[in-house]
């Protein structure tokens, strides 16, 4: 059975809206519990990391270009080149490498 894409989109939109708006409209005090605060602090880094690797290596036509994009992207990000330049470095490195592979 195939689920309806519009139902997925609606569920996602509603869930994200609630997450973003509830604290802004209802709750005015900061969270007190140290564990929950720390947990929420680390979540973005962990989610993004889990979604990046090994997905980046599997997204490209050849795994080698994916690995090179990952390494160069990490170096660019380490040098704090910013979102746009790091993105560009990853794309161009894959493009150049796959011309020769």
């Amino acid at each position: 059975m195939k689920n309806n894409i519009y139902v997925y989109i609606l569920l996602m939109a509603l869930t994200v809206f609630i997450i973003r708006v509830l604290p802004l409209t209802l709750i005015r005090k900061p969270i007190q519990n140290l564990f929950i605060r720390s947990f929420l602090y680390y979540v973005p880094y962990v989610t993004l990391s889990v979604m990046t690797f090994p997905a980046i290596v599997r997204a490209t036509a050849s795994p080698i270009s994916g690995i090179v994009a990952l390494i160069l992207g990490m170096i660019g990000a380490y040098k704090e080149l910013g979102l746009f330049k790091v993105t560009l470095i990853c794309c161009i490195s894959v493009l150049l490498l796959e011309m020769f592979i």
């Binding site: 195939k2 689920n3 894409i5 997925y8 989109i9 996602m12 939109a13 869930t15 994200v16 809206f17 997450i19 973003r20 708006v21 509830l22 604290p23 802004l24 409209t25 709750i27 005015r28 969270i31 140290l34 605060r37 720390s38 947990f39 929420l40 602090y41 680390y42 979540v43 880094y45 962990v46 989610t47 990391s49 889990v50 979604m51 990046t52 690797f53 090994p54 980046i56 997204a59 490209t60 036509a61 270009s65 994009a69 990952l70 992207g73 990490m74 660019g76 990000a77 704090e80 080149l81 979102l83 746009f84 790091v86 993105t87 560009l88 990853c90 794309c91 493009l95 796959e98 011309m99």
Partner: protein, 231 residues
Amino acid sequence: MKGFKEGFKTGIPIGLGYFAVAFSLGIAAARAGLTPFQGFLTSFLVNASAGENAAFIAIRESVPYLQMILITVVSNIRYVLMSFALSQKIRPKTAILHRLLLGFYLTDEYFALAVSQEPFCDPFYSYGAISFAAPCWAIGTAFGIIMGNALPFKIVSALSVALYGMFLAIIIPPAKKQKQIAVLIVLSFLSSYLLSTFTPLSESTVTIILTIAVSSLGALLWPVKGETYEE
């Protein structure tokens, strides 16, 4: 109206970056079987890179609806923190409509804009930036779905890493200053590789399990005192 104009100018570089990343997201959406209109609608309603990527993977895997809600909560939970932080930057008497709109458009970039103003943020400054950048995001996604099929395979392969480039640009700089974040990133990479290679678990299930497990471990080992979300 001066705030709106200033915000619009700030929105131009943000919008260009959004367009590139949204294009890459569109390629992921096409793999999940979304039409250009469905991609446009998703990006218009959601405005979240990691969240939309996770959702497109979930759609591709035809997960149950309940799991869709779960993956959406997990991949967007950081906005709870931002929403808390932003609530402190809004003039206390600000109308509910402004709160709803600012919440709807709460992304990493708009958040950074809003909290950089002192002592309170001007909603119209945000609306200025949003009025340029948000259409870039939605149209970019639709373009990615349309062109993703038309472009040569090698170009698509190159563009599909744009999204991961953006993720790296977000996670790596804080890891320089805080060693525990660097440790958590390495741990996430390793465990994500192991689970996705040696277990039959789907990508979205792996994301949920590891986000909860690794973040909990981080919170137990290195509790964060003081300000929990800084930009």
